[in-house]
C-alpha cells in the first residue's frame, strides 16, 4: 500500500486547524477545476466533430465517388481506392507476423525471447510514423528501386500496424482460461493444436477488434505515405511497384492550403470520409468490447 492510514489522517486533519471556509473553498475550487478540464476537452472534441461533419457533409456529392482528382478539384475516387488498397494491404501483411508474435508473447512466456519481443513491440508503437516512412523510403523506394508505390506504402503501414495486432492478440489470448488449455493437453493434443484449435478461435473476436483498430490507424496515417506512396491524380492501375498512388489524407493536407473554394471542399470531403470511417471503427470496437465483458466493464 502506498498510503498508510496515518498519512490519510495527516492529509485530512492537516497540520493544525483548517477552518471550515478554507476547506469549502478548496473543495469547490477543486471540483471546478477538474470539471473545467473535462469541459475543455469535450468542447475541443465537439468543435472538431462539428467542423468535420458540417463542412464535410456539405462538400460531399456524387462526383466525389465517381471522378478522379484533377489539380485539386474533381472527385476523390483515386484517393479512396488508394487508401483502401494500401490500408488493407498493410493489415493483411501485418496479420501473420502480428498474430504469431501475439501467440508467442502469451503462450511461451518463459525464456528471454518473449519479454524482449514485448519490449521491442512496445517501443515500436512509439517510433514516430514518419521515421517508419523514411525507413521504407530508404529501403524500398530507393534501394530496391520500387519508387513511390503501393507496395512500399503497404509495408510502411504494416510496420505501423504490427505492434497493435501483436499486443491485442497477446491480451486476447491471455484472457482464454487456462483450464481450456489443460483440457486440450489432457486429451492428448499437442501445444500447437491447443493454441490453433482452441485458444485462437476463442480469442478471435478480441483479435478482430485489435485488427480493426490497427486498420483505423492505417487509414488515418499521412506522414509515412508521403515518403512511400507519393501522390497520383489517376486511379490505381494495379501495379504494385513503380506507380505512385493517391490517398485521402494527402488531400486534406494539401488541398486546404490552396487558395480556391473547390480545393477546400475536397479537403473537407476527404476529412469527412476519413474521420467517419475511423470513428465508426472505434465505436464498433468499443461496443463489441463492452458487450463481451457483459456490461460489467467499470471503465
Amino acid at each position: 500500500m502506498d498510503v498508510t492510514m496515518t498519512e490519510v489522517r495527516a492529509a485530512i486533519i492537516a497540520p493544525g486547524f483548517v477552518s471550515r471556509s478554507r476547506r469549502r473553498i478548496f473543495n469547490s475550487l477543486g471540483w471546478a477545476s477538474i470539471a473545467f478540464a473535462f469541459v475543455a476537452l469535450s468542447a475541443a472534441m465537439l468543435s472538431i466533430l462539428i467542423m468535420v461533419f458540417q463542412r464535410g457533409a456539405g462538400a460531399l456529392n456524387f462526383k466525389i465517388f465517381t471522378t478522379t482528382t484533377a489539380g485539386m478539384t474533381g472527385g476523390l475516387i483515386n484517393a479512396i481506392v488508394g487508401t483502401a488498397v494500401m490500408s488493407f494491404g498493410g493489415i493483411l501483411l501485418a496479420i501473420p507476423p502480428g498474430i504469431a508474435a501475439g501467440i508467442y508473447l502469451s503462450e511461451f512466456r518463459r525464456g528471454y525471447l518473449a519479454p524482449t519481443l514485448r519490449f521491442m513491440s512496445d517501443v515500436l508503437v512509439g517510433v514516430p510514423s514518419i521515421v517508419v516512412g523514411y525507413f521504407c523510403y530508404v529501403t524500398m523506394v530507393v534501394d530496391l528501386g520500387w519508387h513511390f508505390s503501393a507496395a512500399a506504402a503497404a509495408i510502411a503501414l504494416a510496420i505501423i500496424s504490427l505492434p497493435y495486432i501483436t499486443r491485442s492478440t497477446e491480451v486476447a489470448l491471455r484472457a482464454v482460461p487456462n483450464t481450456l488449455r489443460e483440457a486440450g493437453l489432457g486429451l492428448g493434443a499437442n501445444t500447437g493444436t491447443v493454441i490453433m484449435r482452441i485458444c485462437l478461435p476463442m480469442a478471435l473476436p478480441s483479435i478482430m477488434t485489435g485488427i480493426l483498430l490497427a486498420l483505423s490507424v492505417s487509414v488515418g496515417e499521412t506522414a509515412p505515405l508521403i515518403y512511400t506512396a507519393g501522390w497520383s491524380d489517376y486511379l490505381w492501375s494495379g501495379h504494385l511497384t513503380n506507380e505512385p498512388v493517391g490517398y485521402l489524407t494527402y488531400v486534406i493536407w494539401t488541398a486546404i492550403t490552396e487558395p480556391f473554394q473547390g480545393a477546400h471542399a475536397l479537403a473537407y470531403a476527404a476529412a469527412f470520409l476519413v474521420t467517419v470511417f475511423v470513428l465508426l471503427i472505434s465505436v464498433a470496437a468499443r461496443v463489441a468490447l463492452s458487450r463481451r465483458s457483459g456490461g460489467s466493464h467499470r471503465g
Partner: protein, 323 residues
Amino acid sequence: MIFRRLIAPIASLVGITLIGIVVFLWNYAWPAMKLNGFHFLVDNNWNLGNLYGNPVVQNGQQIMPGAEYGILFLIAGTLASTALAVLIAVPFGVGSAMFLAEGVPPFLRQWVSFFVELLAAIPSVVFGLWGYVLVIPFLSNHLFPLMVKYLGFIPVFAGPSGSGYGLLTSGLVLSLMIVPLIAATVRDALVSRPIGQREAALALGATRFETLWSVELPGVRRVVIASTILATGRALGETMAVLMVSGNALNYLPTNIYSNISTMAAFIVSQLDGALTDPTGMAIRSLAEVALVLCLISIVVNGAARLLLYFSGSERLEATAWM
C-alpha cells in the same frame, strides 16, 4: 516444442523490424554523419547550398557548394513544443481523469469517457486541419493580442503576437492529441484503486474531493508519471498536425511563445521536395540523419516509460497503454 520453433522466427519480425529501422537509417545517414559531425546538433544553418553549382568535396563527401546541415532550431522547436504540450496536457488529462472517475455517475461514465478518449482516434491530419481552419484564426485575432496585452510583462509572452502559426499553437494542438492518452490511463488506474482506503478517508470525515486529492491521486502517482512519458514520446514524433500549424521556421530559434517553429518530424516532410533536388543526395541523407536522431530519442523515451511500467508492476496499464 516444434510449434514454438516454428512460430519464433515469424514472431521475431516485430523485433527485427525495430532493429532494421535503426540499422538501415544509420547506414543511409552515415555519409551525412561523416560530413556533418557534431555540428549537426549544435549549428543553426540548414542550407542546401548552390544547387546549380558543381559539386565540391568536403570531409570526403560530395556536396553542393555552400551546403551546410545544422538542425539546432529543429531540436529547440521539437523540445519546446513538446514541453509546452506536456505542460498543458498533464493538468487537463489528470483533471478530466479525476472528473470522469469521480464526478460522472457510473452508468454514464463509460460513454462519457469514451467520447473524450475518442480524441485519440482522430487522425493527426484532421487535428492539423482543425488547427489550420479554426484555431489559428481564433488565436491570432482574439487570444494572442489579449495575451500580449495582459501577460506581456513576462518576457516570453511579450509581442509581437505573430500570425497565429507557431510554438504555442503547436503546443496546444499537440496537447489535445496526447491528452486522451493521459486521461484514459489515469482514469483506468483511479477506477481500479482498492476501495478500502477511499472508504476509510470518507469515514474520517473527508469530502469526496479531499479523498480524491489526498488519497486516490497519490496512489496513482506512478501511472501519471509513466503515461506522461509515453505522451511525451508521442508528442515528439507528431508530424502532420505540427506541420500544418507550426509555421515551418527555417534556421530560426524561437524568441517568444508565438514564434514560428519547426519540429524534426514536420521538417522531414516539409523538406522532402527540396532535398530531392540535391543532385549529390547529401540533403536527403541529412534528412535521414534527422529521422535517425528522432528515432533514437523516441526509443529512449518509450523504452524508459515501458521499463518504468514493467517494474512498477501495473499490469493493467501495460495491457491498455499501447492503444
